[in-house]
Every structure is written in C-alpha cells, then in structure tokens.
C-alpha cells in the first residue's frame, strides 16, 4: 500500500480539472481532484487507477512502481460524436440547430411497459404523454408543445427507421404503437420545433417522433440478452358510490313504493366484483453478432398482459430481424429491418365499469334464473327488462371481443457512397407497413332483452392496411478551410390504403344480419432539401424546404411549401480558456409546417354521395337503397403552423450540470376545424373547413445534474419543466364578438350536452358551465345559478368560461442512483393548472338517478350525500361545482436494481435483478378516481393499476 498523487489536466488546453473522480479499480477507495487538479490516493502497488469525468473519456492507468501520476483527460468522443437522427439523415448532437430531444435505451422508464411511448413518459420537456387508461396495451395521447391543431389530429408524426407511419387507428389494437416490442427500441428522437421538423413538412405541425430500433454492429461479438419480467397489477381505489345501507336509506327516502319493493338484502360492492389482481409476464430474447462480416440482430418477445378488469388481456408475440451488411469496402451499406408482431387482445366490455358504479348494491351478484345465473332486472312477465342496466359481471362473462392484429413493418435502406466521388451519397429507402386484423365478437342470448330476442349474436370485424413509402435522397458533404457544408435533396412518395369490414349475425334467423364495408386511401408526394453550413465549428446554419402534395385536397389547393431556417452559435468556442462550459450554444429557428390529417375522411373537398348499407326504404312493395350527399368544403386546404424557437444549450464542466432552455411560439392559421355550419347550407349540421387561428407559447427547461460520481456511487438527476399557453386567437372568418365558439366535450348522462367550448381568446377545451350558487355553509344550492347576463332567468346565455382541461405547467423529475451493485431510481410527473369535469358526479349524483325507466333502480355517486341534489337537469349537469382542480403529482415509477454479475463472473455473464413499482402514488385535490384525463371530462375510465414487477436481465 502506498500513496499516489498527481495532477489531472485537460488535454485541450492544459488547464487543471476540478472534481475528477479517481478510484482504485476493484475497490471502494477513491477521491476527487481539487481546484488545482491535484489528487492523493492510497493504493496497492499492483493497483489500477480509474480517472473519470463527465464529457471526458475514462482512463485507466496501472500504478506500477510510480508514486506520481499526471493525467491528461481527452474529450470523450463518444459524447462529442453522439449522433442524432434528424430525418433523412443524421447529425452530430453538437451541431444541431433545432430543438431536438434525444433519449436512448439507457434512460428509458423501467418496469412492465408494453407500449413504446411509455418508455419516455415524464422524461421529456414539452412532450405530454397521457395514457388512455389502464387497459392492457392501452394507447396514449401524445402532445408535443401543446398541439397546434384544434379538430384536426394533434398527434405527432411517428417515424420508425426512416419510415413515416400512418396516424390512423389500427383496429384490433388498443394502441397503434403497441406492435413494437419496447425492448427493440434503441432511441427516441423528438423533433419539437419547426426548424427540426419542417423537413417532414405537411405532417410535422405537431412534431415528429423518430424511433430507431436496435441493430447489430461490426464490433459486436456474439451477445445473447435475455430478460424476463413478472408483474402483478391491482386497483388503487374505488369510485365512491353509496354503500348498500346508504342506498337502502336513499331509496326509502326518495324512491316510490314500487321502487322500494325492488330493494334487496345483499351488500354487494360491484366494483370489487369486476376487478381483479392481474398477473402478467414479459420475456425477451435477443441475439446480436456477426454472420461472417454481416452484423445482425434477431429478437423475439412474448408479452402476456392481463388487465385488472376481468377478462381483459393482451398477448403479443413479436420478432424482429435487423441486418446491416456492407459491400464494396463500405461504399454500399444496407440496412434491412423487418418486424412482425401478432397481438391478441381480449377487449372486455368497459361498459361494465359504468354499470358496476351504478348497479344496485343491495342485489346479489348471482340469482337462480334462466339468464345464466346472474342477477338481472326482470320485467313483470319474467323476461329481461328492456333498457335496464345489465349485471356488470354478466357483461364481462357473457360477451366477448377478441381481436388479433398481425402487423409487419419493414424497410430496406441502401446507402451508397460514390466510388470516385466519396463526398456524395445516394440513399434509397423503401418501406412497407401492412397489417391485418380479425376480431370476433359474441354476445350470449342471456345478456339483455335485445340479445334474448336476437337469440345472441356473432360478429366479426376485419381491417387490412397496406401502406408503402418510397424515398430517395442525395447527400453531399464537404469540408474546406474551416467551413463545412452538408446538402441533402430528395423525394418521397407514400400511399395509404385501409379497408374495413364488419358484420353481425343473430341466432334468431328472422333478425336481419348487419354488414358494412369501407375502403379508403390517400397519397402524399413530396420533394425536400436541406442545407447545413458550419463556419469554424462556431456558427451553424440549417435551411430546409419541403413541398408536399396531398390527395386530400382539390388539385388547386393540393400543394404546399414548408420552409425553415435555423442558426446556431457555439458561444463556448469564443472563450480562449474555457474552464466552465463543456457546451454553450445559442439556437434560433423559424419554420412552417402543415397539417393534413383531418380525422374526418380522405375526401373532405369532394362533392360526393355515400350509399347506405343494410338500410332500405320502402316504396310500393320494393325496398330501395339510400344515397346521401356528403357534407363537404370544396376549398379546404392545408392547415399551417409558423413556429419560432430560441434555445440555449449549456453544460457546466465542474458542476456536472447540463441542460437547455427553449422559448417558442407557434401560430397556426387556417385551422382545420369541424364547425357548426349554418343550418340549410350544407349536408349536415357540421362541416370540416379552414377557419381560425391558434397560438402556443411556451418555455421549456431541461436540467441534468450529476451530484455524485465516483467509483462506487453515482447519482443522476434530471428534471424538465414546461410552461405552455395554448390560446385560440380567431375562430371565425370575420371578427364576431358575439360568437360563442365551438361546443366540445360531450358528457355522459346527457347525450347532446357539451361541457367545453373552443372560444376566441381562450384555451381550447375551456369549460363552459353555469356558475353554481352556494349557501353560507359553502354547500351548493340545488338548481340555483348566477344570472350572469342579468336578464332575470337562467338560460344558456348564463354559461361562462371557467378553467380548462389543458395544464399550464407540466414537469418531469427523475433520479437514478447506483451504489456499488445496487441501484435505485424513480420518475415523477406533474401537471399543474388543469381542471376536469367530474362527470361521474355530474351525471350520477342526484337522487333522481335512483329512478330507472322501469322495473329497476340505480346506485348514485356518494357525492349526493354532500349536495343532497334531487333532480338532474340540463343545467345541474353543467354546474361549475363539478369542475375540479385536477393538478397532480404522480410517481410513475420506482425501481430498485441489483447487479448479480459476481455470481457468474467466471462465465462472463452479466445479470441484473430489478424490482419496479409503477403508479406509486398520486397527490391531487381532484375528487374522482384519477385526475389524469386527456380531454378533461371524467367519464368512466379503465383505472390505471398499481403494478409491482420483478425482472431479471441476463447478458452473455
């Protein structure tokens, strides 16, 4: 044992480095350098010292017989060379001019994750990922910087291995992305501002998510990775309804004599009946290596997810093959990717959730009857009562909907570097995305009055999707005298075909079967180019332009041009002796992007008729098919978003802090909007047209901090903060202050009632409600609302705009610690300033709800005990009393890991054991089940479960 001392300096300029971790390899001994770069550490003679510092390559030096060791640390090329996928090419991270967030597999969220987008939930500034609920494989709503559209799609464009996907729904899957096994994903690159995204032109207005899948590489020896995860999910809480005793009291007080006779003696918690603790497993095996000289990666995965709602489940088998051969001394590189997955989903009838909330708790679950043994409401003649609520458990067990989705996606990219002109590359990428879905639905004859008449039913649905992409571009790169240029130009053609069919036949041959067929397609043709220019590695400029044509618009409106420009200045390169910054870059970008994803069909401009299917009208003794004109707007065109972004990237060497700050503004004009059309002027009451403008302004801050980094203990913290203000700036062609806006946010318990409005000057989805009047004790007074317009009566003119479903702030915070072989991490997310309409209260919290239409009674929300409201009216269901603050802080994920490699040291096997809890806790003032509701209207959500998982990863 002896003392070794020395000094660590920066290779670049010879300056001393503070805070460099110096450790003795294989022990827990270590220290850090002081301000003069000096260190002193005790080490045995045969020891090896490890010098590490963020942004620098780690060095290992054998002590030998030396007592002084001076070290020069060099920049870690891996970091400096870090490459980001930017769309039709890649760029070095440090040369980016746009606002792009990149996240790789090491930073993904851990646990029982069946769908790709959940890998990055909470990890990205400016990106909001809201799961649609707790159903197995359930999808998510992704919003980048608020979303720049109103009634057109606000979903970002998703690009997988260079192939832009179709955003339309894939039938038979809860989530269009769930066909990808999350374990196959290498990185997510999110293009947020226009200067980054404009290369995708007309589909990029809501940002672009580029997903790159894992591939083999030349360096890989044979590597086998196996992971297995076992998890258990259970329900966190109940929707509060009256207990059986409370219900009996309520019916005795408020029900009629007839209704009181219906009461039973049981005490049934229907929610306990329909939910369960669900066990799931996920297994993945991947092999990477080289077949002779061809790198490959092959993987298979099998996921079995059971849902907490009984009978719901998802089984997915996925395979992926990636080959990356090179030819002609690496002049020609091929990148071949093929993925196939088969997902079988049991979709439970989620109506059972609502049914369980409202079902009479005084009835037993089962009864002796001819209807399958489930308690059911009967008419006086002993048949199932029409219109009566259905026993929730029967709804799950007597009905099935099984969908199988097979999806194949693949591409071949040929990247050729010209033989006698190596500065020029030609890239040709052809890809396909095909899927077919087959779903079968059955309904027992014992379920309801209607199914009894029909003697049950058997239905099916199928979907075939057939999309292709064909893209070609040339890329020229040249560096000269401190200048470098990178020019790319290309073209792309995409086609999307979708075909749906469904039918239902009935056990009763007298009931006419139902059949319906639909097929549609659209196409895009695009030309694009990009110029990157760098001067002295200090000043960077990017100019892009894309011209897009879409079949969704009339020939005269079909083409749109989407340019962008971005400038960046690496400020830290201006300092001679830079001891402080590892990175300091100022970015500015401006660009136009478009939107043509109308979500209302592929022919919005066309004056056309649609033929009815299965419905005829009688003239004389014959029945005639129906031809109906479609509502249309011949002049419909691109929605256009102009965005400006100002950003600063920074990295502080000694403090080990890095991050970025971005401010942005996005202005959307010619919003594609479904609006009420003046009655009589078109062929429906609503039509999709271009009207209005929308603005998003925001601030994003990302900070990554490594407070501790040494041999034994490593702690990374990262936080992101987003402020986004979304506002409609116009909704009519001519300014009209009396125009209320577009009513949205349909609520349950009131078909045809809308609780939100898109109004000029307000955030979209602002609640549009009546102002409740309260008594001195703060209790709402039934039926009493403020007469806001002072005309002496309460009419719809007294509705006012109150709060919004859109959060003003959202935050993500994650921490990952490792100490020796153990690790501990968590991810938290918070939305602030968003409100939700508790529609379960508003539709189910009056004593009137007890009354059924006939021979049955319904349970009500426990909120009725607070309000004592008796009658449900058009106005009470829209009371602002039910609009509640839905800000929340959620811990999404808590994970503990332990490295087991010692156990297998001899065999060079690496193994990691992990324990993960998901949905750990939620802190909120919101009174409903879960405050996280994408559109702000809390109907009956499939509850997000709390999940505990144990996982084992093995690599050898």
């Amino acid at each position: 044992q002896k003392t070794v001392s020395g000094k660590v300096t920066d290779q670049n300029d010879g300056s001393p480095m503070l805070g460099v971790s110096v450790s003795v390899k294989g022990t827990s001994t270590g220290t850090q350098t002081d301000a003069s770069g000096s260190f002193q550490v005790a080490a045995p003679a045969n020891a090896t010292l490890v010098f590490s510092f963020i942004g620098k390559a780690t060095q290992e030096i054998a002590v030998g017989n030396r007592s002084t060791i001076d070290v020069k640390l060099v920049d870690d090329n891996k970091i400096l060379q870090e490459v980001v996928v930017v769309g039709y090419g890649t760029q070095k991270k440090q040369d980016l001019t746009g606002s792009i967030t990149s996240i790789t597999s090491t930073d993904f969220v851990k646990g029982n994750i069946a769908t790709p987008e959940q890998l990055v939930s909470g990890k990205l500034a400016g990106v909001q990922i809201t799961s649609n609920g707790g159903a197995p494989g359930s999808g998510s709503r992704i919003r980048i910087r608020g979303g720049s559209s109103l009634s057109a799609s606000n979903d970002p464009l998703i690009v997988i291995d260079g192939i832009p996907l179709d955003n339309s729904n894939v039938s038979g899957a809860a989530n269009p992305l769930s066909f990808i096994n999350p374990n196959d994903i290498e990185s997510f690159n999110i293009l947020k501002d226009a200067s980054a995204a404009a290369i995708y032109g007309s589909r990029a207005a809501n940002g672009v998510i580029i997903i790159t899948t894992k591939k083999g590489s030349k360096k890989d020896k044979l590597n086998v990775a196996f992971s297995t995860l076992f998890s258990s999910a259970s329900r966190v809480n109940n929707v509060d309804v009256l207990t059986a005793d409370e219900f009996r009291t309520a019916v005795k007080t408020y029900g009629t004599a007839t209704q009181q006779k219906l009461l039973g003696n049981a005490n049934t918690n229907w929610q306990d009946q329909i939910f369960r603790t669900a066990l799931s497993s996920d297994n993945n095996l991947s092999v990477t290596g080289n077949l002779k000289t061809m790198p490959y990666r092959v993987s298979v995965g099998y996921t079995k997810q059971n849902g907490i709602l009984k009978t719901s489940s998802m089984d997915r088998t996925s395979t992926s093959v990636g080959l990356t051969p090179t030819f002609f001394k690496s002049h020609l590189k091929l990148d071949i990717n093929f993925k196939y997955s088969s997902t079988k989903s049991n979709f439970a009838d989620e109506g059972a959730i609502g049914s369980a909330i409202g079902f009479d708790p005084t009835q037993n679950v089962y009864a002796e009857n001819k209807f399958g043994g489930y308690f059911q409401w009967l008419a006086q003649n002993g048949d199932l009562a029409g219109l009566a609520p259905i026993n929730p458990l029967a709804l799950l067990n007597l009905k099935s909907n099984v969908g199988t989705l097979n999806r194949m996606i693949g591409n071949i990219q040929a990247d050729y570097k010209f033989h006698f002109f190596p500065d020029l590359r030609a890239v040709w990428n052809i890809g396909f995305d095909r899927s077919n879905t087959r779903g079968d639905q059955t309904e027992s004859n014992l379920l309801s009055a209607t199914s009894f008449t029909n003697q049950g039913s058997v239905g099916y649905y199928t979907q075939t999707r057939n999309n292709f992409t064909n893209q070609f571009y040339l890329n020229y790169v040249k560096g000269l005298n401190g200048q470098s240029i990178n020019i790319m130009a290309g073209a792309e053609n995409q086609g999307f075909v979708r075909e749906n069919e469904n039918g239902t036949t009935y056990g009763n041959s007298g009931v006419v079967p139902i059949y319906s067929y639909f097929k549609t397609d659209y196409a895009l043709l695009s030309f694009f180019g990009r110029l990157n220019y760098a001067l002295n590695d200090k000043y960077l400029a990017t100019v892009t332009v894309r011209r897009d044509g879409s079949s969704r618009f009339a020939p005269e409106n079909r083409w749109g041009t989407f340019p962008s420009v971005a400038l960046a200045w690496k400020l830290n390169k201006e300092f001679k002796n830079d001891e402080i910054f590892s990175d300091l870059k100022l970015r500015f970008g401006w660009g136009l992007t478009g939107q043509q994803d109308l979500s209302t069909g592929d022919y919005p401009y066309l004056n056309a008729y649609t033929k009815g299917q299965g419905l005829k009208y009688q003239f004389g003794d014959r029945y005639y098919d129906l031809l109906r004109p479609n509502a249309y707007d011949p002049n419909i065109k691109w929605e256009q978003t102009a965005s400006t972004n100002l950003g600063l990237d920074f990295g502080l060497k000694k403090a080990r802090i890095s991050g970025s700050i971005d401010v942005y503004q996005k202005k959307t004009t010619d919003l594609i909007n479904e609006i009420d059309v003046a009655a009589g002027s078109n062929f429906s009451n609503k039509v999709t047209t271009n009207v209005g403008t929308l603005e998003n302004k925001g601030l994003e801050v990302v900070i990554n901090y490594t407070p501790i980094m040494n041999k034994n203990f490593n702690w990374d913290i990262s936080g992101n903060f987003t402020y986004n203000e979304r506002k409609i700036t116009a909704l009519t062609k001519v300014d009209n202050p009396t125009y209320v806006g577009v009513l949205v946010g349909g609520i349950s318990g009131g078909v045809g009632n809308y609780a939100q409005v898109h109004s000029t000057g307000y955030t979209p989805n602002t609640f549009f409600v009546y102002k409740q009047v309260y008594d001195e004790a703060g209790k709402p007074i039934e039926g009493l609302f403020a007469d806001l317009n002072g005309d002496g009566k309460i009419t719809e003119l007294d509705r006012y705009r109150y709060q919004s479903a859109v959060p003003k702030y959202f935050l993500g915070f994650s921490s990952q610690m490792s100490y020796k072989k153990a690790s501990l991490g968590f991810v938290m997310r918070s939305n602030i300033g968003n409100y939700a309409l508790n529609n379960i209260y508003s539709s189910m919290a009056t004593y009137q709800n007890i009354t059924g239409a006939g021979n049955f009674i319904n349970n009500v929300s426990a909120n009725v005990l607070e309000t004592n409201f008796k009658t449900r009216t058009d106005q009470t269901i829209l009371s602002d009393y039910y609009v509640q603050n839905a800000s929340f802080l959620r811990m999404d994920n808590l994970n503990v890991g332990y490295n087991l490699s010692d156990l297998f040291r001899a065999k060079k096997i690496q193994a990691q054991l992990s324990f993960v809890v998901q949905n750990v806790f939620v802190i909120t003032k919101y009174k409903g089940l879960d405050p996280e509701i994408a559109d702000g209207i809390d109907r009956q959500i499939y509850p997000r479960p709390r999940t505990y998982s144990v996982g084992l990863n093995i690599n050898f």
Binding site: T520, Q618, G620, P634
Partner: protein
C-alpha cells in the same frame, strides 16, 4: 409511385352519381328515409347529424316528441337531458330535441335542394339523360318533402331560414324568412305541386301524390290565423274537401291504422314507412310501441320483445273519453293509476295501447325489436276533421256535411253521434281520433289552449299543471345555429 388523384372506393363523386338516372330513385329514397330514420345504416348508424345520438335525432321520433310530450296526450318518465323539459314546458334554445328537429328540417331541405339543382332540364340534357315522367315526379316529390318539412318549420319554430335550390352549397348564410314569407312560399309551392305531383292514390305506396300536397295546404290554411293573423278557413275547407273526394275510405276498424300491416289501410294519405328488417331504427314507431309498454303489460301482445316503460297519458286526456263505448280510448289500466304522482314511475298514469307491431291477424311483425308499423302522417280522418273545423270556424262549406263527417268517425268508434259542432267538441274529437299521431300541440295552439287556458298534469312542472309563458307556443331556434348564422334572430322570449 402513387399519384394524388385518388377517388372514393365507397361512395361516388356527385357528377358520376347524376350521370346514371338509376341513382335518382335512391337519392329520393334517402329524402323519404330522412323522415323515418337517422342515417344510412341500420339501427341509426352513420347518422346524418353530428353530435346528436342516433336514436335521438330521427325526424319522426323527434316530431312526435315535440307534438305530444308538450301536451295532455303524453308524458314520459325518462330523464334524458332536455326530455323532461318538454312536458314541463321549460325548454331552452339548447334543448337537444328542439335543436335536433330544427337541424333535421334544414337538412332535409338541403338534400332536396341538391337533387333539384342537379336534375334541371339543362343538367339532364348536358348529361344526355332523357327527361322522363319519372324524373319529373321525383323532382315534384323532392319539392313536396321540402314543403312538408317547412310546414313543420313554420308551425314549430315560426320564422326559420329558407333555403331553396337557388342557394349554393356552403357559401352564403341562409336568410331567415318571416312566418308570413314562409306561408307565402309554402302556399305558392304547394299550389304548383298540386298540378305536378301524380294524382291522388296513383303513386307508389309511401310516395307523395296530389292528396298529400292538399293535406299540407289544408293544414297550412287551417292554421293560417296562427301563422299570419289572416283567416283562411274557406281555403282549408276547399283543400280538405279535395282529399275527401279523392276516393279514400275509412277503415272499418280504427286500430287497423296503427298496426304492423297498416300499409293496407285505405285511409292512409301519406305515411312514413318502417320495416322491422329493412328500415331498422331505435326511433320511429319502434320507440312509440316499446316505450308505451311497462308495468304488467305483456309485450308479446304488442308484437315486441319488451317494454321500455316510458310513455303514458294524463288524466285530463283520459277524461275526453267520457263515452265509454268509444273504442278509440285504448288505455291499459291494470296496475296503472290515473293520477301521476311521480313522473318517473310507469304505473302512474294510464298506458296507451293504440300502436302495436302486430298485424290484423294478430301475428307479430317481422322483427320483435324493430317494428313494421308505418306512421301515417296524414289520414282521411284528419281531412274530415279539418273540413269540419274550417266550416265551424266560418269557412265556406257545407255544415251538414261537416257534422256527418265527424259522426262517421264517431260511428266507427262506436260512440254516439254529436248533434252539433262546436269548437270545444271539435278539439276534443281531434284528441280522441288523432291522439298520439303528432297533432296535439298544433291543435292546442290553434285553439288557444296550449300555454294558457287549459292545464294538465305536470304542465309547467307541477302536478296540478299551470299556465306557462305564451312565447312557448313556438320553439326556439337552435342555439347552435344562432352561433353559426349570426344573421338569425331568436324567437321572442328565448
């Protein structure tokens, strides 16, 4: 490479649709079906109007609701939003039912206008299509449907936007027509149609003929005093008489008009057609029949698979049948109470058994869920009563004939003859003969008994019934349209 000129696979570009004259009848079928169902797929799927539930937007269902639930004839126990407001007479301009019906009227008009624009002589000849009598009939019928829906518009809403084939799709805001302007338009249009439509009883069943146009005219004139302040009772009698003389005869059995095979009725002048297999909807007569069944009633006797326990009637209406021999008083009383203490409870109030999905031979219709029963919008008995009332109100006509026409209805029902006609006994007779056929609201308004002067159980929201504001004799224009079309002026009071 895929080019950008894609065309729909399902559906057809208008230009191509109109190049084939065989399509015209299907467009016409949609116009008629628009009175019956909500969309173009069975069970109200693929609906015409967005944001309205499929079951809640069918023309006939909503028309029936607005004409019946607002009166003594019918009360509903369901709590669907806006629905209890109809009987309580507390609806607002955003009421889902009044708004849906308002949109329906203008939707029907817009579809008719498109057909008329695309089948002009010039358009036909440019497409090389010979202008046949069939096409002329289709055009006249499209105009008839438009006139029919506007006759409902003038009655229920008063002053609404008037759109014709001269308005372009999607450009200018439709102009609101005053009630007088609508009246003038309808009078001119229907008089023209009187010559252009096929002769009475000469068109296919379910399609309009001259007699249908006469009925709309007769009703328009009968209510002219309400609409314009001018009495047109002589004209009302004249047009009712044309119908009476057109060869229709009363069915011997009153209830045969309301059964699954009521297309056989000899007194149907114009009916909205339903078929349990081909024209399936949750609205239409499917609603009326299911919803009238509850309590101890046996659904099988009505040819359906179950009751929806919704509709009953008030004791004020039951009291019109003081002549117990009158077979038209079809009430189910077993287990039902005459008094309505609880609107939501089916056993409160007598149930009505007038509408059924069984045939004359007692066998059920084709389908136990969706009914075959057609909805006669106009039948001969109505023409008799219009004639009688118009003459009694001072219109020129034959008073003796008027009395004998009314008594022929009473005779069929097994009731004793009236000795003379008064406005009071005519209103009561219209109630007895035409109840639950979507006439009552119009009648009560015309007799000055809708908002004030006559009260019934739960009118105004209280059990005894109370007067309501007079402005409620017309419904409000849809709040959504006031937003979409700022040139509109809302009806007074709303």
């Amino acid at each position: 490479c895929k080019d950008l000129d894609t065309k729909p696979y399902v559906g057809q570009v208008s230009e191509l649709v109109y190049q084939d004259a065989n399509n015209y009848k299907e467009i016409l079928a949609k116009l008629y079906a628009g009175l019956a169902v909500s969309g173009i797929k069975p069970k109200d799927d693929d609906v015409d109007l967005k944001n309205f539930d499929g079951g809640f937007q069918g023309y006939m269902r909503v028309y029936w609701y607005l004409q019946e639930f607002t009166t003594d004839e019918a009360i509903v126990g369901w709590g669907d939003p806006g629905l209890p407001d109809l009987h309580k007479m507390s609806w607002t301009a955003s009421n889902a039912w009044t708004s849906a019906f308002y949109s329906r009227i203008l939707f029907q008009a817009a579809v008719a206008n498109e057909f008329l624009r695309e089948t002009t002589d010039a358009k036909l000849s440019s497409r090389g299509i010979a202008n046949s009598q069939d096409i002329k009939n289709y055009r006249a019928e499209a105009r008839f449907i438009r006139a029919l829906v506007y006759s409902h518009g003038i009655d229920l809403f008063g002053s609404i936007p008037l759109v014709t084939e001269n308005d372009k799709v999607g450009s200018d805001l439709p102009k609101q027509a005053s009630r007088q302007e609508l009246f003038n338009y309808l009078e001119t249009e229907l008089k023209a149609l009187e010559t252009e439509l096929p002769d009475a009883r000469k068109n296919e069943y379910g399609r309009a003929d001259k007699a249908a146009a006469w009925m709309v005219l007769a009703k328009l004139y009968l209510n002219a005093e309400v609409y314009t302040g001018q009495k047109k009772y002589s004209e009302a009698a004249l047009y009712a008489k044309k119908v009476i003389d057109a060869g229709y005869t009363l069915e011997n059995n009153y209830q045969h008009n309301f059964l699954a095979d009521n297309h056989l009725s000899t007194e149907n002048i114009f009916a909205i057609n339903y078929d349990g297999n081909e024209t399936q909807t949750w609205g239409g007569t499917t609603t009326i029949i299911h919803a009238s069944i509850g309590g101890s009633m046996n659904a099988a006797e009505f040819g359906v698979d179950g009751g929806w326990s919704g509709f009953r009637t008030t004791k004020e209406f039951v009291s019109l049948f003081n002549d117990k021999a009158d077979k038209r008083g079809m009430f189910y009383t077993n287990g039902q109470e005459l008094e309505i203490d609880e609107v939501g409870t089916f056993s409160n109030g007598y149930a009505v058994t007038k509408w059924k999905n069984v045939k004359r031979d007692g066998k059920p219709g084709k389908n136990l869920t969706h009914t075959d029963t057609d909805f006669p919008l106009f039948r001969l008995a109505d023409a008799y009563l219009i004639y009688a009332e118009a003459v009694t109100r001072g219109g020129s006509g034959d008073g003796t004939l008027a009395l004998s026409l009314v008594n022929s209805l009473r005779k069929r029902a097994g009731a004793t003859n009236l000795s003379s006609l008064t406005l009071d006994n005519l209103l009561a007779e219209r109630g007895r003969e035409l109840y639950w056929e979507a006439h009552r609201r119009t009648d009560l308004v015309r007799f000055g008994k809708f908002t004030t002067g006559y009260n019934w159980a739960w009118k105004g929201g209280i059990k005894a019934g109370k007067d309501v504001e007079t402005f409620r004799s017309v419904f409000p224009l849809a709040a959504s349209d006031l937003i979409a079309n700022p040139t509109l002026k809302q009806n007074t009071g709303y």
